[in-house]
C-alpha cells in the first residue's frame, strides 16, 4: 500500500473555530508547502487562553495556536501535525508569553528531539525530516511537567512511506496482524486504512496551578508533582458527554472496518483505560525519552496501564462483539433486531455504541463528582459485515423515567 495525504485523519474539535453560521474549521494543520514547494510549513505560537470545562468553569491555560489558520485562535490540545516519513518540515515557534518556553518532540532526531528554547517575543525555526512512522507528542519540556500540563502539548502523526502498518519497522507479529486484517477468516472485512484513525489526547488539570500561572507566579515542579490533584479530565480537550458524542473522537464504522487509536497521556495521572465491545491489540508504546517500542508480543486486552507523558497505539479490530449469542452467520440487524429497534431515554439503540473510560474511576469525575463527566468516550458500530447499516430505531420511547439523583 502506498500512503497518500488523502489518508490524513480527523481529530477532536474542541475549541474549534465556529464561523458565522455553521461552518466549523477543523483543528488539524493542513499541510502547506513553503515558497519552493519543498517543505511542510508549520507555524505555531505559544500563547494563553481561558478554556471552558464541562461544568462551564473557565480555566486559564497556556496554549498553542496555529498561525497558519486565518482564524488565529488558540487550541487545546495543540493542532495536529501530520506528515509522511521523510517529508521535510519547517516548524517555527513564536513565544508570545513573558517567560522563556521550550519546544520538543521526543523521538525526533536532532535538536527537535532534545528541545529548543524560545525567548519571550522571539520566533525560532527548526527544520527536520519527518521521522519514522508513529505517534509523537510535542510539548514544552521546560519545568517538566508544569509547562506541558498547563496546556503546551499536542500530537504529531507520521505515516510510513510504504507498507500496510502504521510503522516503518513493524515487528513480525505486528506485520502479521495487519496482513491478516480483511484477509484471514478471523478478521473478515477490510484491511486497516490510514484514515480509519482517531487520536485520543488524555489530559488532567488542577485549576489551582492554572490560577497561579494566570497571576504570573512561578510554579515549582516538585511542589506541582507533590500536590497536583486533578479536578477535570479530558480527551481531545473535552469531557464526559462532549467527548462521548464527538464524531472526530469516536471511531465509527461497520463490522470489519478496523481502526487505529493513537493515545497520549499529557496529564499528571496514570489511568487504566478500558474499552467495551471489543478487546484491542496493544501496538507501539513511546516512553518519555522518545524511544518507540514496537512489540514483538502483541497482546489482546480490554484494559491497559496508561503512563504519564507516554504514547500508546491501539488497534480496535471492529469485529462483531464476540459474546453476542446466536448464529454468527445471521447479521446483527436480524439477530438483535428487537434491541436495535428500541428507543430508551430518547436515544435509539441503533447504531450500537460502546464506551471507553478510565477504570481508575476518579478520572470519571468532574469538579469532584458529576459521574461520568470525565475521561470517557466511545466507539460506534454502524452496520453489519455485509455493508448494510443497521436500520434506525423506532421513535417510540420504551424506557421508564430516570431515577432523580438524591443530592448529598
Amino acid at each position: 500500500m502506498k500512503i497518500s495525504r488523502r489518508d490524513f485523519i480527523r481529530y477532536g474539535m474542541t475549541g474549534l473555530v465556529v464561523a458565522a453560521g455553521t461552518t466549523a474549521l477543523g483543528r488539524m494543520i493542513t499541510p502547506r508547502r513553503n515558497g519552493n514547494g519543498t517543505a511542510i510549513v508549520v507555524r505555531l505560537a505559544i500563547t494563553e487562553a481561558m478554556v471552558e470545562m464541562v461544568d462551564h468553569t473557565f480555566i486559564y491555560h497556556w496554549t498553542f495556536e496555529d498561525l497558519g489558520n486565518p482564524a488565529h485562535l488558540p487550541q487545546l490540545p495543540g493542532p495536529l501535525i501530520q506528515a509522511i516519513e521523510g517529508d521535510p518540515i519547517e516548524l517555527s515557534i513564536t513565544n508570545r508569553l513573558p517567560d522563556v518556553h521550550g519546544f520538543r518532540i521526543p523521538g525526533v532526531p536532532g535538536e527537535t528531539g532534545t528541545g529548543i528554547l524560545v525567548e519571550p517575543g522571539q520566533t525560532k525555526t527548526i527544520g527536520f525530516l519527518a521521522p519514522e512512522g508513529g505517534t509523537y507528542m510535542y510539548l514544552d519540556h521546560l519545568n517538566e511537567p508544569v509547562n506541558r500540563v498547563l496546556g503546551l502539548h499536542g500530537p504529531m502523526v507520521v505515516l510510513p512511506r510504504t507498507g500496510n502498518t502504521p510503522y516503518s519497522r513493524p515487528t513480525p507479529n505486528v506485520q502479521k496482524l495487519f496482513d491478516d486484517l480483511g484477509t484471514a477468516p478471523h478478521f473478515p472485512g477490510e484491511p486497516w486504512k490510514a484514515e480509519r484513525t482517531r487520536i485520543w489526547v488524555f489530559h488532567s488539570k488542577d485549576p489551582r496551578f492554572n490560577a497561579m500561572a494566570e497571576r504570573g507566579e512561578k510554579i515549582n515542579a516538585a511542589v506541582f508533582r507533590e500536590e497536583f490533584l486533578p479536578r477535570y479530565f479530558t480527551i481531545n480537550g473535552e469531557s464526559g458527554a462532549y467527548a462521548s458524542h464527538n464524531h472526530h473522537t469516536t471511531p465509527e464504522g461497520r463490522i470489519g472496518q478496523p481502526h487505529l487509536i493513537r493515545i497520549m497521556d499529557t496529564g499528571m495521572n496514570a489511568d487504566s483505560p478500558h474499552i467495551h465491545g471489543n478487546h484491542v491489540y496493544l501496538l507501539a508504546r513511546r516512553d518519555t525519552t522518545g524511544d518507540l517500542n514496537i512489540p514483538r508480543n502483541v497482546l489482546l486486552v480490554d484494559t491497559f496501564t496508561d503512563e504519564v507523558a507516554q504514547c500508546m497505539d491501539w488497534l480496535l479490530p471492529f469485529i462483531r462483539p464476540p459474546d453476542i449469542p446466536g448464529d454468527e452467520t445471521i447479521p446483527l440487524r436480524k439477530l438483535v433486531k428487537d434491541e436495535l429497534a428500541l428507543t430508551l431515554g430518547g436515544v435509539g439503540q441503533s447504531p450500537i455504541m460502546f464506551p471507553m473510560h478510565g477504570h481508575n474511576e476518579q478520572s470519571q469525575s468532574a469538579a469532584g463528582g458529576n459521574y461520568p463527566q470525565g475521561m470517557v468516550t466511545g466507539w460506534i458500530i454502524t452496520g453489519d459485515l455485509d455493508g448494510v447499516d443497521f436500520p434506525p430505531s423506532s421513535p417510540e420511547e420504551k424506557g421508564g423515567p430516570p431515577m432523580p439523583h438524591d443530592q448529598d
Binding site: 502479521k176 459521574y371 463527566q373
Partner: protein
C-alpha cells in the same frame, strides 16, 4: 486585556437527549431482549450492606452483590465468584433492591443492552435478565456501572471466571465437570497445541483493593449531577463540592482481607497452599484505584491477560506467554486481569508482595505480603 476563550461547542436540540442520557439514563426492566434458550442461569441482587472487619475489630461498611440462590455463601466480599463454561448462553437475572444499578460483565462483549452501561442502554429498576454468551474462557469480573467511581470502590464487584470444557484426556480423570470448583483442580485455556487447554491442580485468586474510608460514608448518588432534560448541560446542574477525584486510601485489601495502612502483618488468607510437582493457576484481578506491582517468590509464566490467553489462535496468535522471574514486578492498574502458572519444585515458604502506588504521585503507599507455601 481579555484573553481569548476556548468555549465548549454548542449543542443542537437534536443532541439534548444523548447529553441528558449521559448523566440520567432511563430505567428499564424485564427482558431478555431478543431471547435465546439459555444453557446457564445465574442471579445477583444488589445491593447488600456488609461490614469488613479489621484486626482491631473496627468495621468498615461495604456494598456487595449477593447470590440469592446461595443462602450459605451468597453474601461475601468480594462478591461471590461467578463461573460459567465456554460457549454458554447465559441468562443473568439481576434484582435491584434500592434505587437503580446495572451490572457490567467486564471483558465479556455482548450488545449494549446486555453490557450494563446506563448511558448506552438503561439502569435497572426492579429486575432485568441480561443475556450474553461466554465464548472466551478466562478471567473476567462483574461490577456495578452506576456512579462507578463510588460503587466499584464500595465493593460492588466480583470475579467472573469462564472455564473451558474438559478435554477427553487421561489427565482429566478425577477432575469434575466444568464449571470447575473454586480452588481447583480444573482446566484453563492456554498456549499448548493442539487443544489449547491445560490442567491445573490448585487455583488461587488474588484481588488487591484499597479503601478511602471517607468514601464509605457516602450515599448512593453522592455528588451526581442533577437531571434536567430540557437543559442537561446547565451549570447549576453540576455539584462543585465532591471528593470523587481525591482518593486517599487508608485501608488495603487482598482478596477480602483488609488491613490499615500501618498494619504490616502478612495476608494469610491469600497464601497459596500447594505441593511440589503441582501446577498452580494464580488469577489476579486488580480492584484498586492505585497502581499495583505484584512480585512472586517463585518463577511464574503469565499465560493470559484480560481473559484472553496468549498464543491461542486465531486472535491470540500474535502473542506468546511471558516468563516472570521470581521477584520481578508485574505492573497492573484497575480492572486488569492476569493469569499465571506457578510450578513449585522445592518445598518452602516463598514470600510474595503487592505494592500499591499512588495514581498521581507514583509514591509507594503500602506493601501487602503473602506467601506461596509449598509442601
Amino acid at each position: 486585556m481579555t484573553l481569548p476563550r476556548i468555549p465548549l461547542r454548542s449543542i443542537s436540540r437534536d443532541e439534548l437527549p444523548v447529553f441528558n442520557k449521559h448523566v440520567c439514563p432511563p430505567t428499564f426492566g424485564g427482558g431478555p431482549i431478543d431471547p435465546l434458550t439459555p444453557t446457564r442461569r445465574i442471579a445477583r441482587n444488589l445491593l447488600v450492606n456488609l461490614d469488613v472487619e479489621l484486626q482491631d475489630g473496627t468495621k468498615v461498611p461495604v456494598w456487595i452483590l449477593e447470590d440469592p440462590d446461595d443462602p450459605v455463601g451468597g453474601r461475601v466480599f468480594p462478591s461471590k465468584t461467578i463461573r460459567t463454561v465456554e460457549g454458554d448462553i447465559v441468562h443473568a437475572r439481576v434484582g435491584v433492591k434500592t434505587n437503580t444499578h446495572t451490572i457490567h460483565w467486564h471483558g465479556i462483549e455482548p450488545t449494549p443492552m446486555n453490557d450494563g452501561v446506563g448511558k448506552h442502554s438503561f439502569e435497572i429498576s426492579g429486575n432485568f435478565v441480561y443475556q450474553f454468551a461466554t465464548n472466551q474462557a478466562g478471567t473476567f469480573l462483574y461490577h456495578c456501572h452506576k456512579n462507578t467511581a463510588l460503587h466499584f470502590e464500595l465493593g460492588l464487584y466480583g470475579a467472573f471466571i469462564v472455564d473451558p470444557k474438559k478435554p477427553d484426556a487421561p489427565e482429566a480423570r478425577g477432575v469434575p465437570d466444568p464449571p470447575y470448583p473454586d480452588g481447583g483442580p480444573g482446566f484453563v485455556r492456554a498456549f499448548n497445541p493442539p487443544d489449547h487447554v491445560m490442567k491445573y491442580d490448585v487455583e488461587s485468586l488474588w484481588v488487591p483493593d484499597d479503601f478511602d474510608t471517607r468514601w464509605h460514608e457516602l450515599g448512593h448518588d453522592a455528588f451526581m449531577q442533577k437531571c434536567d432534560p430540557a437543559n442537561p448541560t446547565a451549570a447549576e446542574n453540576f455539584t462543585q463540592d465532591g471528593i470523587l477525584h481525591d482518593f486517599r486510601p487508608d485501608i488495603f485489601i487482598l482478596s477480602g482481607e483488609a488491613k490499615r495502612k500501618d498494619d504490616t502483618t502478612p495476608f494469610e488468607k491469600a497464601a497459596i497452599r500447594c505441593k511440589v510437582g503441582q501446577t498452580v493457576l494464580l488469577r489476579f484481578i486488580d480492584a484498586t484505584y492505585t497502581i499495583t506491582e505484584i512480585r512472586l517468590g517463585l518463577p511464574a509464566q503469565i499465560i493470559a491477560e484480560d481473559g484472553y490467553p496468549f498464543g491461542v489462535p486465531p486472535r491470540g496468535q500474535y502473542s506468546f506467554p511471558i516468563d516472570l522471574p521470581a521477584g520481578q514486578p508485574m505492573r497492573m492498574t484497575a480492572a486488569m486481569r492476569g493469569d499465571a502458572f506457578i510450578r513449585p519444585t522445592t518445598p518452602g515458604r516463598f514470600p510474595c508482595t503487592v505494592d500499591f502506588f499512588h495514581w498521581i504521585s507514583g509514591k509507594k503507599l503500602y506493601t501487602a505480603t503473602t506467601f506461596i507455601d509449598v509442601e
